[in-house]
């Protein structure tokens, strides 16, 4: 589980004076589902481009450890969808995947499986140019999962896909995660990232703001919302709670921040022992989206 399969050291990409990515260092571990977050222009796609060999880093080193002698051979173990699906408009889905299969050295029999997984088997003879945006995206995903690669790199995989399709894509990613695949997911739909990723990496203007597991990143981001008839007395009692960090008033609630090991029933019991009956107690957790917005503001 702790085997490093990709490592980037001081990765930098400059376009003239503009640094799209600056001194970015991170590791990707086997079986990890890493979400890359960042606003538009934060360097997500450039980073993925460098990882996938289509963007030359201005500085820094990157290394895939997939048991191959060269970067291009390593990429055959990676299924990727970068920015948007790119296929020949005059080819149908089956032909498009045949080309991918030829490059990756995958047997053609696996094409049917990939098309079925993304729900395009019945439309396999249709030309790519006649596909809707969502179908094109599905074909891009089929190309990425073709041949059951060890690593998946997906850049905005749900772009243009309808609600049911998004659920399918999420299901597909979760399935791959269960099978121990390593996944790198760049998406601006943070709810999606939170649901499927184990780790995140936050970029802003090409620099790394934060990285770690979702738990680490959201550590200290849980609190209780409490309500009682006598709010002032409740505030007074809670201020004396041994492991409390902070109390804030919000609307008719008190937001009570405590250390991680404190349970809701401990608080309830504590209040009850001091003659306060809680009318409401609710565990709240900051979403990745809220956290992300706050981190970007800093």
């Amino acid at each position: 589980m702790n085997e490093i399969i990709f490592s980037a050291q001081n990765l930098t990409k400059k376009y003239g004076a503009l640094a799209a990515v600056s001194d970015l260092s991170f590791d990707l571990l086997k079986g990890q589902v890493l979400g890359i977050l960042g606003p538009n222009g934060s360097g997500k796609t450039t980073t993925l481009g460098m990882m996938l060999g289509v963007v030359r880093p201005t500085k820094g080193d990157l290394q895939w450890s997939l048991g191959e002698s060269s970067a291009s051979r390593s990429r055959r173990h990676i299924g990727a969808l970068l920015e948007k699906p790119r296929f020949y408009p005059w080819m149908n889905a089956e032909e498009s995947l045949k080309l991918t299969a030829m490059i990756r050295g995958v047997h053609r029999s696996e094409i049917a499986q990939a098309l079925e997984m993304v729900g395009l088997w019945d439309r396999r003879k249709d030309l790519f140019k006649n596909y809707s945006l969502g179908m094109k995206q599905r074909l891009g995903l089929a190309s990425a999962i073709l041949g059951d690669p060890d690593v998946l790199v997906l850049d905005e995989p749900t772009n243009g896909i309808d609600a049911a399709g998004i659920a399918d894509v999420r299901h597909l990613i979760i399935e791959q995660r269960k099978r121990g695949k390593t996944i790198l997911l760049a998406s601006h739909i943070l709810d999606e990232v939170e649901k499927v990723c184990s780790h995140v990496l936050v970029l802003k203007q090409g620099t790394l703001l934060q990285q770690g597991s979702i738990e680490e990143v959201l550590k200290g981001q849980t609190w209780y919302e409490l309500k009682a008839r006598d709010e002032e007395r409740l505030f007074e009692v809670l201020s004396q709670f041994p492991r409390h960090e902070k109390i804030e008033k919000k609307d008719s609630y008190l937001q009570f921040f405590v250390s991680k090991d404190v349970r809701g029933e401990d608080i309830n019991q504590y209040c009850y022992d001091r003659g306060i009956l809680l009318s409401e107690i609710k565990l709240c957790r900051r979403s990745l989206e809220e956290h992300f917005i706050e981190v970007l503001k800093k």
Partner: protein, 261 residues
Amino acid sequence: MIRIIKWEWFRLKSYRSFWTFNLGYVICLSMTVWMGARLIEFFLQQSAVSEFQSLIGQPSLQLYPFFFYFSGFFEPILAFSIMGLSIKERELGVLKQHVIDGFSKEELLLGKFFQACLLTIFAWITLVILIQVFAGLNTSEFFQKWKELAGVALRCGGILSFGLFVALLIPRSIGAVTIFIAWSVLIEPFLGYFLEWNFEWSVKKYFPMQVFSHLIDSPSQLLGVSVEKAMEQNLSFPGLAALYILIFWGGMYLYTKLKDV
């Protein structure tokens, strides 16, 4: 290697413009060979120059220089067929996808090289077949002219390499074709004359497209000169033509290597 060849062929065969241009080449060359064979025969029969009378019995022999030279006029059509695909692939971003899927930049370039080789072989075989069919040549006669046949291949390879080089530098099909034509028929001749008139530098013949198009001597000496002279056809600057081909591929390699896909 086989994998790249198969992959190249798979892409080319599905690209309609490739077939359209190649068909255009075959039609143009067929018409030229057919009409040329008859025209030259006619002129030779009409000629009062005594030396030509001896050749009328074996007219096909005089047709070699004509066809070898004039087939070069249509080779740019072949170049357009692969230039279009090359530019389209960049516009659509599929080259990027091929790199992502596991091709190295060197393999992509090798694929282009195979395209050029495939079309050179196609052009060469088409010429051989058409001359045999329309001008009645037999194979043994044909291979007496091995040097010129090699020249045809070298010239075609050069024109295709130049076309691919231009296609790599110019990101739009129309722009690339315009530059290709303008370079060949305007820029090189005018630059050549300019340098000659102003500096007395006679360098026009060393320019790449001039070298390729005049690699096989023009048969302009066919009429009105001695038989021996008419039958002589030499290769001009074959070494320089090969050097230009190397320069184009080296340039493409450097450009591909240093630029993002």
